[in-house]
Amino acid sequence: MKLINKNHVVKKMPTRLAVNSICKGLFFLATLFGLLVLAILFYRIFTQGIGHLNFDFFQNFASRRPEEAGVKAALIGSIWLMAVVTPVSLLLGVGTAIYLEEYARKNWITSFIKLNISNLAGVPSIVFGLLGLTVFVRALALDRSVLAAGLTMSLLVLPVIIVAAQEAIRSVPRDLREASYGMGATKWQTILKVVLPAAIPGILTGGILALSRAIGETAPLVVVGIPLFIAFLPQSVMDTFTVLPMQIYNWTSRPQEEFQQVAAAGIIVLLALLILMNSIAVIIRNKFQKRY
């Protein structure tokens, strides 16, 4: 048996400790990199866009002249999009989650559905755009409407909502269900009146996060063919429209320097909307989440 040479160990000790501290510093710097990028990004966009951010910016439609360009059609359009995506994706997502968590038996159909959902989450958003273009815009002849875009977006965020709702439902303790059954409630009564109310905070949090993804997504809407330049508001779900990210994309890809400032102002509006939604999610999580 080879014995440890104490001198050898002692001699090596300072280097090993030094390497340890150096690497700790490197790991810390890497972590700081992310924070630094975020700070630069916010700072750049804020300083570029703040000059354009005034009351007129919210009142004006898009314009060829940068000083007159406004965000009205896009902001209202984003809200219209949400009005379609929210009910469709929540209904389908929560329904699927209830089925998978409460009713599904352990068989190949269930595991196929689960595998399918996790793969769907990895499909690039632009491919959902191709699906929307073929099925909703062409086959169902919905044209480039709020409805066509909203349905496409609902399918895109569906996997996120399903997974969030599944987790929320799973975290409701068994005791609550057992107590409900013990009182003579049926399975559906138990789900509707006991499990869902207990799972609502988790479902809402996940739902809002999924919707904030839908509100910032551009690629599928480009493929669906949502116009980049529009100067009227939609009157119904069958009208065409534009949304904030599309408007920002339009401004960003213009060669004039001034439009970049308009784009930055649009980004501030978009980020403000996202921060608002995320804050609501955090408030819901903190306020209603019970610990069992």
Partner: protein, 313 residues
């Protein structure tokens, strides 16, 4: 004691029997079927995606041979004698993905190690939400950032760099996927049990030695899976490369010139005026199919790695 009158009270058994005969039991049978239908919709979406891509790609291959598509080295759909070889678009996509990986893997992994092994609970609680913010920023915002900040800064350092190039969107895509690698790898590292680390400390290992020789190998499957997933996201990323990458499909390995990725081509056609039914219209489905196959293989690979090589403790 008096027997209670039969009309006033129910036995529980009677109560259940009576309830059973009522409508409620039909709802009980109907609801699972309805919910099953909503669950089936997610499967229908996948089938819809696959069928859409297959059918429209098939029409494309009636106009352009599949051999030319897969092996051709020129992608010139708008030329008077168009040629549809997808390789330049794939090369463009891979260039961006490799640059993104060079940025995101070391930084993401180092962040994960710092958060799980070195950081105090307080630091972690500050940094993790910030990473979530970074992950939640819309890609069009990153695209704007790449075009108006990263590209000009890079051009100050390397004056020969084109306005549109592979390196700026590559770096920014890397920044975009970095939080994903950091967060998923951190989950993998945290799930390595403490007893293993303490075993290493007891043998006299430093924190770094423990991390690199004990914790990292134990969490390797989760880490590799997170990297594969993140790279699959990078391949499918659209807006950053559309805004900052340019629209010149090219086979060259040079990262300073304008490129075009698969996703950026689809955007170019969608925002252009190519009519319904033209070869160019169908070409976006063939490119979409290629993209879908790439990302599907990577996603399945990630699932395979995390299931097959997971170390159970």
């Amino acid at each position: 004691m008096l027997e209670p009158k039969q009309t006033d009270t129910y036995s529980v058994q009677q109560l259940i029997l009576e309830k059973k005969s009522k409508k409620r039991w039909n709802i009980e049978k109907l609801i699972p079927k309805l919910l099953f239908l909503t669950a089936v919709i997610s499967v229908l979406i996948t089938i819809g995606i696959v069928l859409t891509l297959i059918f429209e790609t098939f029409i494309f291959f009636e106009k352009v041979s599949i051999v030319e598509f897969l092996t051709g080295h020129k992608w010139l759909p708008f030329a008077s004698t168009p040629s549809f070889g997808v390789m330049p678009l794939v090369v463009g996509t891979l260039k961006v993905t490799v640059i993104a990986a060079i940025v995101a893997v070391p930084i993401g992994l180092a962040t994960a190690i710092f958060l799980s092994e070195y950081a105090s609970e307080k630091t972690r609680r500050i940094i993790k939400p910030i990473l979530e913010v970074l992950a939640g920023i819309p890609t069009i915002v990153y695209g704007f950032f790449a075009l108006t900040f990263v590209t000009p800064v890079l051009r100050d350092i390397f004056p020969s760099l084109d306005m549109f190039n592979a390196i700026s969107p590559g770096i920014v895509v890397g920044i975009m996927i970095m939080p994903m690698i950091a967060s998923l790898s951190e989950d993998a590292l945290v799930s390595v049990p403490k007893s293993i680390r303490e075993g290493a400390y007891a043998l006299g290992a430093t924190k770094l030695e423990t991390t690199i020789k004990v914790v990292l190998p134990a969490a390797m499957s989760g880490i590799v899976a997170s990297i594969v997933l993140a790279l699959s996201r990078a391949i499918g990323e659209t807006m950053i490369v559309s805004v900052a990458g340019g629209s010149t499909p090219s086979m060259s390995m040079d990262v300073t010139n304008s490129i075009q990725t698969m996703t950026a081509y689809i955007v170019q056609v969608s925002t252009g005026d190519a009519g319904y039914g033209t070869t160019i219209y169908y070409s976006i489905y063939a490119v979409g199919m290629t993209l879908f196959v790439f990302t599907l293989i990577m996603n399945l690979l990630a699932q395979f790695i995390s299931r097959k090589f997971r170390e159970e403790y």
